[in-house]
């Protein structure tokens, strides 16, 4: 029987790893879609945030330290950025914490920790691409987008980074309420300070997760350009986040995965 299992993609073969990854991603995506709140958020959050932020900025008083040009459009951009970052972050968080014990059982049955991580990560990437598409469509409906592909890329970059941050929070703080609260405050502050609405020059802003995505997104929507330095910086940020989260996930989700 063992030989037959190896021939059909056993535990140690590349075919077996591919089969396990497909089965894992397929199961996680099914579980995601079958959670009604996810589907509701996927549609309602972009509309509420993009239009809500735009309306809020329109009503904002004119202040000397705020760049008032294109306030409504800037608000909508911030809404779109907030939406993808928050949704992907929550998705990453719940991919880690929603089934820790089932994942641990799956590991005992044959999945490696790396395979579990990759299958969860691919699910986050798929969810991030979907929310990015919906958010950009909602934005485009009311605001001209000069370079749609570049805008999609910038939003997707933000979603991927926050998807990883959500997974990191899930690995370090595996609790739904506390993890969600951390994400809400983090995304809110990051989105506001990185948006460029305030004319800030603090160096610390350069390491905020949404710093590069915001720069790229503004350029893509308003000017139709992509600054190479921002693109390289954003991708480098993503790769560093991926490396850090991979190591921490594999190390931290082991022994604690099954409650004593």
């Amino acid at each position: 029987m063992a030989d037959a299992r190896e021939a059909h993609g056993g535990v140690g073969t590349a075919a077996g790893r591919g089969r396990r990854l497909r089965a894992g991603v397929s199961s996680h995506v099914r579980a995601f879609v079958r959670t009604p709140i996810n589907v509701v958020l996927l549609i309602a959050l972009p509309i509420a945030m993009v239009e809500g932020y735009g309306a809020a900025m329109e009503a904002f008083p004119s202040l000397p330290f705020i760049d008032t040009a294109q306030m409504v459009e800037m608000g909508r951009l911030n809404g779109a950025m907030y939406t993808v970052a928050f949704f992907a972050g929550v998705l990453g968080l719940f991919q880690v914490i929603s089934a820790l014990q089932a994942d641990e059982r799956l590991r005992i049955c044959g999945y490696s920790r790396v395979e579990l991580f990759v299958s969860r990560l691919v699910t986050v990437v798929i969810g991030s691409l979907v929310i990015t598409g919906v958010s950009l469509a909602v934005l485009w409906w009311s605001t001209p987008v000069a370079a749609p592909i570049a805008a999609f890329g910038a939003l997707a970059l933000a979603a991927f980074i926050y998807g990883l941050i959500g997974m990191l929070i899930g690995a370090v703080l595996p609790r739904a309420l506390e993890g969600s609260l951390v994400l809400v405050f983090l995304v809110d502050a990051d989105d506001f300070f990185s948006s460029g609405i305030l004319d800030l020059n603090a160096a610390i802003l350069n390491v905020f997760p949404l710093h590069f995505p915001h720069q790229l997104f503004r350029d893509a929507v308003f000017d139709g350009t992509v600054a190479t330095a921002d693109a390289v910086g954003g991708v480098a940020y993503l790769l560093v986040a991926l490396a850090v989260v991979s190591v921490l996930y594999v190390r931290l989700t082991g022994d604690g995965g099954v409650a004593a």
Binding site: G9, C109, V258, A260
Partner: protein
């Protein structure tokens, strides 16, 4: 599916259903220690020593009962034996395939039963035909074939437990570790479960079961009691005099789950 394994058991020199300590253990653990406590010095928390130099060996074809009071560390011991939890000290030697049925079904709530078998079967390295065959076999035997397209979170507790047990059994493991596997079973399923364990042990599978019911003592080749962090063999001792046994198993319900 179990006949093939009987041949293998004999050729490996396994001891058969009479078990005993004459063969080579399929699972061996020695000096296991485990203490639960806070990672940081947090006020009003306490440290609990669960295992203290516990040793255990399980042999092919035997069925071992693990008993002990609530909180004595039985589930912790089983998690360490299967690799779901790290011990603070000691070692576990696992050179065979293991099936683990945890006390709480660690399954994916939003997958259907059919999808659950597909996922865990893939984890075990089984092909699609094999997964389907084993799934249908256990669904028929344990009586959950009507629920194959139900989501796990829509199943009753008993049916969820049947799926939980079947997932542990589906890859035909050499060692089965079952943590109160029949919780919620109806009487017919409970009897079917014990029939199944007899077939498995005859085929050479080693089985360890965490149990609270004294009336089941005759079903075990050996009974290990976990108390004060260590395991001791209490086979043949008067069960009513041992701590941790549930007297409800003696009379009130005849040991029904």
């Amino acid at each position: 599916m179990f006949v093939d394994r009987a041949d293998t058991a004999e050729s490996d020199g396994r001891t058969g259903s009479d078990g005993g300590t004459g063969g080579t253990p399929v699972l061996r653990a020695s000096g296991l220690a485990k203490t639960y406590g806070p990672q940081l010095p947090i006020p009003f928390t306490r440290t609990v020593e669960v295992l203290d130099r516990a040793d255990v060996e399980i042999y092919p074809g035997e069925i071992v009962g693990i008993v002990g009071e609530n909180g004595s560390g039985k589930s912790t011991l089983m998690k360490i034996l299967v690799g779901a939890l790290e011990a603070d000290a000691g070692s576990v030697s696992r050179e065979t395939t293991i099936g683990w049925c945890p006390q709480e079904p660690h399954l994916y709530d939003r997958l259907t039963v059919r999808e659950t078998f597909r996922l865990f079967g893939t984890a075990y390295g089984m092909d699609d035909d094999e997964i389907e065959r084993v799934r249908d076999e256990y669904a028929d035997r344990l009586g959950f074939e009507r629920f194959l397209d139900y989501r796990v979170d829509h199943l009753s507790g008993g049916n969820r437990q049947k799926v939980n047990l079947s997932i542990a059994l589906m890859h035909d493991p050499d060692v089965l570790m079952l943590d109160e596997p029949y919780t919620g079973f109806d009487w017919e399923t409970y009897l079917a479960f014990w029939e199944l364990t007899e077939e498995l042990t005859e085929a050479g599978t080693a089985i360890a079961i965490i149990s609270h019911f004294v009336s089941e003592r005759d079903r075990f080749d050996r009974i290990l009691e976990l108390a004060d962090g260590t395991l001791s063999d209490v086979t043949g001792q008067d069960p009513t005099e041992r701590a941790g046994n549930d007297p409800r198993g003696v009379g009130a319900n005849g040991g029904r789950p």
